[in-house]
């Protein structure tokens, strides 16, 4: 049992400046929770408060049912993987791993056993007697992980552990970390500003902005139903297209009018959003819901291609139309030239609608 509960937790720096404000969050036993947000959103501060490295000025934090709000870091039984790795530079890799166990008076042979096991899982055997300064960035990252694992803590706390790695290595470590988590099964809090890491690694994600929680949920659900435009835009590259819009009832049908994109909503969406008729709205559509071939429920529109990014497996394009920039994620064989006029189809079955003033998602009538 090692669930984490944050109850209205704040970090007040004084003078009305808050690093984190009234954050409540429950992280379940064994869960991989990702804290996601732009820099300065309070995600790292939250993690450091859980670790006890940052003072909690208000609210309670409990780990495994125990109130740890005022406990020193060493009494919380958490292991932190720092962005900088924070390896002890004067100790060998082996000693780095041993340190935490020595502090906790783990028997010596148990120490050796765990170090050997972690080294084998992480491929660190050849480096056990090296100093961290003799390792590459990726190897240091593994040592930092190994040092956390051997401790067998209640909770893993990881503060952007992949952000100092090359793009290539980052993708590999992502998968390795998830596998590791599946094997170890320990509650993990993972901080990142990278939405791809959040989507692919988290059992759930918690999106933060300005020290507050914006939305918590399973990645694909948050992706499918963002609570507001911030979440909608933050969770993908390219960001969700947002266009000022209005709905009008025409008998049974509900007509969408959003800049270049206009037409009747499909039946299901029409029913969901009927109450939002005549409000000032933002119409949201993800780049992958703009397609190059007609399909039922998709509305055609024309635009001039201004950006073409051929990624290899697929292409990202941006078209200008009626003063709007619209991003689309298209098939790798769709390769227009810059300046071409193309016809695209907006799949209204994936319509998102937000209030134009507040940015909050329009409640669906289920």
């Amino acid at each position: 049992m090692s669930e984490i509960k944050l109850n209205k937790v704040s970090r007040d720096y004084g003078l009305g400046i808050f690093g984190v404000r009234d954050v409540s969050l429950e992280i379940e036993e064994g869960e991989f929770m990702v804290l996601l947000g732009p820099s300065g959103c309070g995600k790292s501060t939250t993690l450091r408060m859980i670790a006890g490295l940052e003072e909690t000025t208000d609210g309670q934090i409990s780990i495994a049912g125990r109130d740890v709000t005022r406990l020193a870091p060493r009494h919380r039984n958490v292991a932190v993987v720092f962005q900088s790795y924070a390896l002890y530079p004067h100790m060998s890799v082996r000693e780095n791993m041993r340190f935490g166990m020595k502090m906790r008076k783990t028997p010596r042979d148990e120490q050796d056993r765990r170090i050997a096991q972690a080294a084998s899982v992480l491929g660190l055997q050849p480096y056990l007697d090296r100093k961290p300064s003799a390792l590459s960035g990726g190897q240091r990252q593994r040592v930092a992980l190994g040092r956390a694992i051997v401790r067998e803590p209640d909770v893993f706390l990881m503060d952007e552990p992949l952000s100092n790695l090359d793009a290539k290595l980052r993708g590999e470590m992502r998968q390795e970390l998830v596998k590791l988590h599946r094997r170890v099964g320990k509650t993990t809090v993972f901080v990142t500003h990278d939405h791809v890491e959040a989507m692919t690694m988290g059992d759930r994600i918690c999106i933060m902005r300005n020290g507050r929680v914006e939305q918590v949920g399973v990645p694909l659900e948050v992706y499918a139903r963002p609570r507001n435009t911030f979440v909608a835009q933050f969770l993908a590259t390219p960001a969700m297209n947002l266009i000022e819009a209005q709905l009008n009832a025409e008998g049974e049908a509900v007509m969408l009018s959003a800049g270049p994109i206009a037409g009747p909503l499909p039946e299901r969406e029409a029913a969901l959003y009927r109450a939002a008729v005549e409000r000032k709205l933002l119409f949201g559509l993800r780049a992958e819901d703009i397609v190059t071939q007609p399909r039922p429920g998709a509305q055609a529109f024309q635009g001039i291609v201004t950006v073409l990014e051929a990624l290899g497996p697929e292409n990202l394009i941006v078209v200008e139309t009626a003063g709007q920039s619209v991003s689309a994620r298209v098939d790798r064989h769709f390769l227009p030239r810059i300046g071409d006029e193309v016809t695209l189809y907006a799949d209204l079955a994936h319509t998102h609608l937000f209030d134009a003033a507040s940015g909050d998602a329009i409640a669906r009538e289920v």
């Binding site: 060493r74 720092f82 924070a86 002890y88 004067h90 340190f99 935490g100 300064s133």
Partner: protein
């Protein structure tokens, strides 16, 4: 390539200029007194000057005094300086005022402190005692070492202590087991500097010392001011005075140069 030779040539000239007086002093200490002023490099070699220094001038006592006082003052001041420097670096203890006071204490003119110190020490019976001198030197070393160590501690990432503390160490344990070892080159360098500061100090040693507690600088001064300066004895004394510096330079030059290139502690 031509530019390189030129700059190396310049360097060699500079080094010779710096080293020549020292080498000449060493040479003078090793030749018989009558050859002191001769232009010959090494007419003959003798240790008579050193022997005379120890036999006639009681220089051994001076040397021991200096060693004891300089070592003890660093040993006393270092732990306090390490803790104060750490508090300044990590907790902003005392804020700018405390830092400024530390710096300012370095800048008070020693001469201005000499008389009050002498009067105070005479009242409590610490004049003409190595204890008194050790106290003064520790007091001089404390802010100096504090300031230098503060710089080293600031250069150590705080996450290291965070890691140690989540790994099970107390704040003190993190300091003891992680921060101190990482700062070791800096601490070694600072200790050497503090030792040499005390080793070379003249004013307080002169004022507070007596004949039994005279240190090397005091002895050198008296050699130089006594009637009929015996240049060969002075040269031997100076050579011995420089000896600890040369040992330091030889054995811990790595620490000195790396530890003291401020802000580059790995």
């Amino acid at each position: 390539m031509g530019r390189r030779i030129l700059s190396h040539f310049g360097l060699i000239v500079a080094v010779v200029i710096v080293l020549f007086p020292i080498l000449w002093v060493l040479r003078t200490s090793l030749v018989p007194a009558q050859d002191s002023y001769s232009a010959a490099i090494l007419p003959s070699v003798t240790l008579d000057n050193y022997r005379a220094l120890f036999a006639e001038k009681n220089f051994g006592r001076n040397y021991m005094n200096s060693l004891v006082v300089a070592s003890l003052s660093v040993i006393v001041a270092m732990p306090l300086a390490a803790m104060t420097g750490y508090a300044f670096a990590r907790f902003r203890t005392g804020g700018r005022l405390a830092r400024l006071a530390t710096l300012a204490s370095q800048m008070l003119p020693p001469v201005a402190l000499a008389l009050p110190t002498f009067m105070l020490f005479r009242n409590v019976g610490l004049t003409n005692s190595l204890t008194g001198l050790t106290i003064v030197y520790a007091a001089i070393n404390l802010p100096f070492l504090t300031w230098i160590l503060m710089g080293f501690f600031e250069a150590i990432p705080e996450d290291l202590e965070g890691a140690a503390m989540t790994d099970g160490a107390t704040r003190w344990g993190a300091f003891w087991r992680v921060v101190l070892p990482v700062a070791a080159p800096g601490i070694m360098a600072a200790a050497v500097l503090g030792f040499i500061l005390s080793w070379n100090e003249f004013l307080f040693a002169l004022i507070l010392g007596g004949s039994n507690t005279a240190t090397v600088p005091v002895a050198l001064a008296s050699l130089q001011t006594s009637n009929g300066v015996q240049i060969s004895n002075v040269a031997a004394g100076v050579s011995l005075a420089i000896l600890p510096l040369m040992i330091a330079a030889k054995f811990i030059q790595k620490y000195l140069v790396e530890g003291l290139s401020f802000g580059s502690v790995k």
